[in-house]
Structures are given as C-alpha cells and as structure tokens.
C-alpha cells in the first residue's frame, strides 16, 4: 500500500509549565525559566538540588487510588499525559477498532522505588553488615508485594492499553533521552504503513529522585551551578552540564484521511523519522556529531529530503554534546546551517530524558501553528564551537515555518530525530 500521511490529533502533557499545551508553549515563548532549588527529594535529607519539577499535576486527578498504588511516581505522568492526549483527540470509544489501536512508549527501564526496599535491607543489615540469608528470611517479606510491577518498564504501556482497549501493535523503548522520540517515530511508521489506524505515542520520565540525583552526581553530567537563573545554558561558552527536569508528552496519531473524515482538530503532520547510533568513543559512550547527523539526515530523507526551517536542538548543555550537535548541523546543512534557527528548550525546562521527545515535539507543533520560535535562554557567551543561530535571548522570534525537526540523543549515543509539518488548512 502507499504510505499513509500521519497527523497528530491529540496532545497530552505533564510539564513544568502545567498540563495545557498552549500555555506550555506560551511559557517557552516568553523565555520563562522553570529551574528552581528543590529541597524535597525523598532520601536526600533536605539537601537542595536544582531542577524543573512538574507543576499543576495531581496524580489523583487522573488515576484512581488503587491503580496509583501500582505505579512508581513517574509512571503516573505517562498515564495521565496519554489520557489527556486521548481526551484532547475527542475520539469516541469505538471510533477505532481496538485491534487497530496501538501504543508506543518511551521510558527508562525498570524504575524501582527504592523506598520500597529500604526497610527490608535495614532488617538484613541489623548486625552491621548486609546478610543475604537474613534478607531472604526476614527482609524479603517486608518488601511491597507488587514491587516488581510498580516499576515495571512497560507499566505505562500496560495502563494505557487497558484504559483505551488498545490491543494492536505496541512497544516500550527504554532508551531514556531518546525513547520518547523513537516511540513517536515507530508509531508513525506503524500507522503510515497500515498496521494501525490510531496510536498513542510518547514518553515520560522524572530525573528528580534520589536515584538520578546520586547517579548524575557521580557522573559529573549535572551543572555544578546552584544559580537557578544561570545553571542551564545550552550552547553557551560557560555551559557545564544539564539540570534535571521531569514530565511527559503523549500524542494521538491518526491517518490524515481518517482524521479529516471525522473532522478532528489537526495539530500537524509527522513527516519523517530517523535513528542512528554512534557513541562518541568506546570509553566515552555518549552523543556524537556522527550520530546527530545520521539520525537527522535519515529523518529528513524520510520526510522527502527538504531541509526543515528550524531544528529544535537536543541542547544537552554538556561540553561535548552541544559542540557535537553543532558540528553535525554544519556538516548536514553546510553554508545554510547559519540560516537555520536551533532553539534549545532545555535551557528553560531542564532535561526531561524520556519525556523530552514528547514535550519538545509538542512545542514544535505549536511553533508551527504560531509561526514563532521559542528562545534559548542563558545563551549569553558565544562559544566558537557552538556558532549557529540558537535564537539566543528571552524573546520568541517570528519565523516562516513549514517543517521543524526535533533532535534527541541519550547518554549512551543513541540518536533519533523527527520532522513535523504544519497542519494544512
């Protein structure tokens, strides 16, 4: 069959600027900084870290209490965002044959809530040293009986399949920073090629927990700055790492003809998707110019070959990644690269990992709608290695946009990109 055109007819967000997609975009367009000190992370004993927490989100508004007890904290973000996307799409319950409705989720793998294990481990360590046999005898029975399922990597996929009776093709891509992007891309291909007549796709994550705080503290990937107004500075000469964020972004994807036939609101079209992997080096797995260029070139090729008018950067704000991303864009677009704006949303909302693809693609759709590019804030000191147009400043810029690309990468060097286009009248 001829590949079908695929459009987005529903958006659901959990973000640091709340759950309304239009308000999320307007906050970005105003150059709003969401990063603040947070001293309430469980297990850190009141120690403050910088982050951009989700706001205006109460899981109980979206999920019943019984189900919530089966969800690690970030899981509720994903479930809620997917539900909001379905509500936004206005699809009747029987509008899509359940076996032709699928779900694709980007996640980070098993998200164990360590608070569920602490009591058991303490019991097994009462002698001063941890003993496995003590743990097996008296610790294990103290563990939450559903511990394994609470953090199940495909937990969101389960809950949204159940909620919407989505029985069709599905996947859970546990690639963290690039998982949401690839989930949307894979759903796009499944609808495009006729495996599905509708898909829920997106990603969710939180890096505001003790596990991530410890992990990134060890890896020196976080910005060392404690100044909330200066810590997150993608492409700036003084960048020194990212600031953690959290959230979720989900979409409803439908074939264009079916969406039109039911008179759906169309946010935009998914035109292309590509993925590539190229770890920076064997001893330094991470983003590379080769990977950024490979994924973006594949996405543009998938979209028909025309360069997008803007690229929403991954803009991780580490020394290496931003320079590599810049190098990739110059390699790909040559002399035209300086004419393609590259805003970095992480300057405002931090790094939402598996949530990035959904949140940043949602912003790209509203940029197309309003013909307006949000800025990269804190980009005040030019870096010779990062010399493109990042829309530096705190003000949005009007721009004529037909297509926008969204770049993402994870911390191991798996890259992916999407190209989205304007909804046609």
């Amino acid at each position: 069959m001829t590949p079908r055109r695929v459009v987005i007819t529903g958006i659901g967000l959990v973000s640091t600027f709340g759950g309304d997609p239009e308000q999320f975009f307007q906050a970005l367009a105003r150059g709003t900084n969401a990063i603040r000190p947070i001293d309430s992370i469980e297990g850190l004993g009141g120690r403050a870290v910088l982050g951009a927490p989700a706001t205006g989100f109460n899981p109980r508004d979206h999920v019943d209490g019984k189900s919530l007890r089966l969800m690690a904290p970030a899981v509720a973000f994903g479930v809620a965002a997917a539900q909001m996307a379905m509500a936004d799409a206005g699809l009747a319950a029987d509008a899509i044959d359940p076996v032709r409705l699928g779900a694709f989720v980007g996640s980070r793998g098993h998200s164990s809530d360590r608070q569920d294990l602490v009591g058991a481990v303490q019991r097994a360590t009462e002698s001063g040293e941890f003993h496995l046999t003590t743990y097996g005898a008296v610790g294990l029975p103290l563990v939450h009986p559903m511990w394994l399922l609470k953090g199940l990597a495909n937990n969101v996929l389960y809950f949204i399949s159940l909620k919407f009776n989505a029985q069709g093709m599905n996947n859970n891509i546990s690639l963290s920073g690039v998982g949401g992007t690839m989930a949307v891309g894979e759903a796009f291909h499944a609808v495009q090629r006729g495996y599905l007549d509708g898909a829920l796709a997106g990603g969710y994550d939180s890096s505001l927990d003790i596990d991530r705080a410890e992990m990134f503290g060890e890896s020196h990937l976080l910005s060392a700055s404690m100044d909330p107004n200066a810590a997150s500075r993608p492409f700036d000469a003084r960048r020194d790492g990212f600031v953690p964020g959290e959230g979720a972004g989900f979409f409803v994807l439908e074939p264009l003809d079916k969406a039109r036939a039911r008179g759906a609101n169309i946010y935009g079209e998914i035109k292309g998707y590509g993925a590539a992997t190229a770890p920076y080096s064997p001893t330094h797995l991470g983003p590379s110019a080769k990977g950024f260029a490979g994924a973006l070139a594949a996405a543009i090729d998938d979209a028909g070959g025309r360069a997008p008018e803007a690229v929403f950067a991954h803009g991780l704000a580490t020394r290496v990644s931003d320079a590599e991303e810049t190098r990739a864009l110059k390699h790909l677009f040559g002399a035209k690269a300086s004419g393609i704006p590259v805003p970095a949303l992480k300057s405002m909302i931090g790094n939402t990992f598996a949530g990035s693809g959904g949140l940043e693609t949602a912003a790209a759709l509203f940029a197309l709608k309003h013909q307006l590019l949000p800025p990269t804030i804190n980009r005040t000191t030019p870096d010779p290695a990062c010399d493109l147009d990042y829309v530096a400043g705190v003000e949005a810029r009007p721009a004529a946009l037909d297509t926008v690309a969204v770049n993402n990468v994870n911390l191991g060097g798996a890259h992916a990109a999407l190209v989205v286009g304007r909804a046609e009248p």
Binding site: G109, F130, N154, Y158, S161, Q167, L175, E218, L285, A298
Partner: protein
Amino acid sequence: MTASNRRRVVVTGIGVVTPVGSTIERMWDSLVAGRGGVDHIKRIDASTFPTTIGAEVKDLESSRLPTDPAILELLDRKNQFGWVAAADALADSGLLQLKPERVGLSIGTESRRPDFLNRLAANRVYVGETAHLRYSPFVIGCALSSQYGFNGPLFTISTACTSGTQALGVAYQTIQWNKADAMLAGGCDSLIDPLMLTGFSLLGALSTRNDDPAHASRPFDLHRDGFVLGEGAGMLVLEELEHARRRGAKIYGEVMGYASSSNAYRLTDSPPDGQGAYLSMTNAIADAGLAPKDIHYINAHGTSTHQNDKSETAAIKRCFGDYAYDLPTSSTKSMMGHLVNGGGAVELIVCLLTIKHNLLTPTINYETPDPECDLDYVPNHARPHRVDHALSNSFGFGGINATVVVGRVNA
C-alpha cells in the same frame, strides 16, 4: 505493502549463552537429549528465599568474556552474556567484513540489578563516573555499537518477557522498511539475583518445587506450579536477503512475519480466551503471507504457570482450529527455565535450528496431562518432523504479546 514487493529478511548468524549450553552446538545437543539445566541456585546463597532453584549458566568460559576492563565494568552479568552471544552471532555471520553504517542494533534487556541490595545497605548505590550508563538498559546496545562501529538505528526494548521477541520484530521491520541492511538483534537477562527472586517470589509466579529442581519446570503438565528463573542471551544477525546472497552468507532461515499485541486485561494474568496471544499469532502469520496450516511447529511461551499455559493453549486452538491438535508445540523453558528479556531470542534460534534439522525439541517433565492443555507438546523426547515454517511466542507482564514467524529459505 504486499508480501511480494517488500524487502525480505533472513538470519545469517546466531549466538547463545544458555543454562543448557553456551554455544549453539552444546545448547542444541542438550535440547535434543531433553537435558534440563535447572538445579539448586549456586551463585548466591538463596537458601532462605521462598524459591531456592534456578537455571544457571554453567559452562561459559571466561576467555569468551570481554577483555577490556572498561567494557567489563560497564556490563553486568546479563549484558556480558549479551556481549558473548553477539560476538558469536557476528562471527558466525561474517558480517564484520562489511561497512557498518547500515547496520543497526535491537536488544531486549533491562536495567542493572545484581548488586543493588548490597549497595543500598551501604547507603551508596551509584558509584563512579559511568554509573548513569551501567544502570541503564541501553548500555549493552551502545557498547556493542561502539565496539563494532554499527551506526544504524539502535533500539533497546523493555517489555519484560516479551522484550527479546519485540526486539527481533522491530529489527525485522527496520530492514524491511529499508532503514538498515542488517541488524544485530536479540535479548539478554540474568534472573538469578536477589532482587528478581524477591520480585517474582512475592508475585507467587515461581515454582517452589525446591526439593526436586530437575522436575520443577513442567509446562503444560497438570502439576505445574510456576516458572523457574533462568539466565542467558540469544543474539541473531538479521540481514536483507539480497545483501546476504551477494556476499554468499550462510542463511539459517527467513524472518517472515511479526506482530505484537496487548491483552488490555490484567497486569499479570492472561485472559482465559487467549485474546492477545491469538491476535499476535494471527497477525504474524498474516504478515508472513501464510495460512495457519502452513505453520509446522510452535515454540510456545510455555512458562509452566497455571495461567499462561492454559491461556496459550486456548489461543492456539482459536488460531489454528482442529489443526492445533496436529501442530507440535513445545516449551524450551522446560529445560532452561525463563530467560525473561533473553527468552524470545533464544527460542527463535531454537525454531531456526528445528527447521535446519527437521527435529522437534521436547517439552520435558510432561507426565500428567491437564484436560485444559490437550495439545501435542512433544512430550519428553525429541522427534523428527518436517518443519518449513515455525512460530515463536512471547507473552509478558503488562499483557504484551509478540510472535515471530520464521521459514526455510531454499538455496
């Protein structure tokens, strides 16, 4: 897209690490002999756990592990299995002589686990600059990409027991859709660790036949009482047919069809009517351009839990009608236990070897028929049978199902 004009995908390399042998030859010999690998757990002192049995990898030579200390540090036990199986599959395929830009990876795996409890006891879980990599499920894919210079798409799939099969399905589609010419695909896992014993024991999913480990994993038998945790990895090289033929590659078989589905039912239980499994089998057979009667062997998910085996049997009957009773269906898990993220890949390799040898591997420990499980499970003994097309099922927690159909390729 019709079956006639789409790119065809074949398997040109295979590698395994399993509890019944850590090479293809050793594993196949064990499976044909009906020799199980379940025993008392020896790697850790599990004596006070509700379940004290498991299927451990016993014969993996340390010389086959990665030699670079930096790589060894990155990879936990399951990922080391994955590394070894990948090296074997790639060597088997001869793919390494080619340009790697159009080669991708797709791996079913999970986050790091083995030392979590000890580190939690020490109140310092994440140590070292690579902690963010070591504890992430994607580390094995990224490390393999770096090692072999593969620059195609990378997938890391985590859908519990279905991961390996979905990773293979996505790899097949990626080649079919012309996003890569070859994919290293499979899965790896090691469940013999305190956290996984905890999680699965608390769910009541494991066999507690602690005094008789050899007979604990007994899929489809009336007296089955849960599954047995295993460990290992399976990796395959998937390649576009003409690409493989041009370079004169050995071809094990063709990946002909794939489908995934969701039960949309319960978190752990499977539906009595087998709806999700029925859907994934039916759609995978259709994707292969085949009819149900063209399938000659099913490698069942066959976990040895009461629910799964009953529901899978119902789904097979729904999908195949009366032919289900003439369709041999066996469970590799009777011998190697449940490899969870690694299971689907190893079991698809078993399907390919079944086609190659025209020999069905048995379901061992099958003693007492269950009226609700009344198919031909190839009880206890291998037997010759012409197999041109085989089907492998995987069903996971969260209600996710996936099926892959493989077929013989005539020279």
